[in-house]
Amino acid sequence: MADPAYRAAGEGMLRIEPLGELAAIFDRRSQQTHLVTQPMPEILAALAAGPCDAAGLAARLADSFDLDGEGDAAAILTERLQELTAMGLVEPV
């Protein structure tokens, strides 16, 4: 299966509150709370610019993160994106 692109929630749908090293995310659509660590909030922020796949996301995040070895980064991001999909926070398009 081709690497899918993912879409973030619409603007204003998520309320993100940093809690120390964690972030609490309230999803206004589902009314659910998700507690996440870095880099989840950063992924969501990067996706806000528009849907993209894991490789595209790695490129967007490279500006603000030190991602060693591009292949690795995309694989890790794919896992994170699948976790965010299970939470309903992002959706494959």
Binding site: R28, R29, S30, Q31, Q32, A86, G88, E91
Partner: protein, 353 residues
């Protein structure tokens, strides 16, 4: 006047909420909770001059219902995300449909499990897609499983392992063993696509399903809430037709469309259910208290619907039992009922030892 009748009159709008004595609210709130109608009532009398503690409690109920409705609609969205990629078309039923279509009965209405209707031949695909997306069987029990698949109108209930919410996937609106036989394929054909992308039943079918659910498929537990749904569905259709359906907006008179709907219901053997729902909703929610035109049978149903005292307790145990047995009788041919009860009894017996 008993609290449950006061509740009915408040919903009907023929009693002014501001006129209740403060302590009358004790009973009204208790019976409204027992009938899962508190938030519905809270919306219905929003803005009335109420004792401050009642006003605050009803505001709490409205806020909590908004949260619960959003949670229920999210389950519909999760079902869409699971089923759309698998090419499974589905129609929302009952509470989730009312909320998705923003019908007048939706504000404050409690929504339990997500109920969806799919074509019979789409069932295996729906089942597989839901299981891939994290739903799992509630019961692993072989008898119950076989029983559902063979005789009921839905897959055995599935529950999502992370969100802990149930989905009921129906392929017809009442069990195939029950005597009325609605045509699910025709219902799917006539379903309406909403602007938000969800499908719901055609207004006629919505009303027929509501009536069928009220009388033919249950022991009338929660019946008052279902009857209120029916009342709102009929009033809503009468008031504005439905621009998305093949019925010209507002073009039909009330009697004409009621006739149309009844003809469709009769075709499926659900004429009596729709007729009785119409009588009861008129008697309870339109000319509240005017029961003169009800038949003896209607009156028994009315008594069952109002069998609750001012402490919220169920009353009339024998009437309730009669309706419970009736609900099994209606869903299953007698011989099958005997086998069902026998199997259940033997399992209960074995568990006790």
């Amino acid at each position: 006047m008993s609290a449950i009748r006061t509740l009915v009159e408040l919903l009907a709008g023929c009693r002014n909420a501001a006129d209740l004595a403060p302590r009358e609210w004790d009973g009204v709130i208790a019976v409204a909770r027992a009938e899962a109608l508190l938030a519905t009532l809270a919306h219905r009398i929003d803005g009335a001059a109420l004792p401050e503690p009642v006003a605050r409690l009803l505001a709490d109920a409205r806020a909590a219902a908004d949260v619960a409705t959003a949670q229920a609609l999210w389950e519909a969205e999760m079902a869409r995300r699971a089923l759309a990629p698998a090419g499974v078309d589905f129609v929302l039923l009952k509470g989730a449909a009312y909320a998705a279509a923003d019908l007048p009965c939706a504000p404050g209405r409690q929504i339990g499990d997500l109920d969806i209707l799919v074509a019979r031949d789409a069932l295996p695909g729906a089942e597989a897609a839901l299981i891939t997306a994290g739903w799992e069987w509630v019961k692993e029990d072989v008898y119950d499983d076989a029983y559902y698949r063979d005789h009921m109108h839905e897959l055995p209930p599935l529950i999502h392992k992370l969100r802990d919410r149930m989905i009921d996937v129906h392929h017809t609106i009442i069990p195939p063993t029950a005597r009325p036989s609605p045509d699910a394929a025709s219902m799917l054909d006539r379903a309406i696509m909403l602007p938000n992308g969800y499908k719901v039943l055609h207004p006629f079918d919505r009303m027929i399903h509501c009536a069928a659910h009220l009388f033919a498929d249950g022991d009338l537990a929660g019946g008052l809430r279902n009857l209120w749904d029916f009342h709102c569905l009929t009033r809503d259709f009468q008031a504005r037709g439905d621009g998305d359906s093949d019925t010209p907006e507002g073009a039909l008179g009330y009697d004409a469309w009621l006739g149309d709907m009844r003809a469709r219901a009769r075709l499926w053997g659900l004429g009596p259910a729709v007729r009785r729902a119409s009588h009861l909703s008129a008697a309870l929610f339109e000319n509240a208290g005017d029961y003169r035109r009800l038949s003896l049978g209607d009156r028994l149903f009315r008594a069952r619907l109002l069998a609750r005292d001012d402490w919220g307790r169920e009353t009339r145990p024998f009437l309730r039992l009669a309706f419970y047995i009736r609900s099994h009788w209606l869903r299953m041919p007698p011989l099958m009922l005997a086998r069902h009860l026998w199997t259940k009894w033997r399992k209960g017996h074995a568990a006790a030892r």
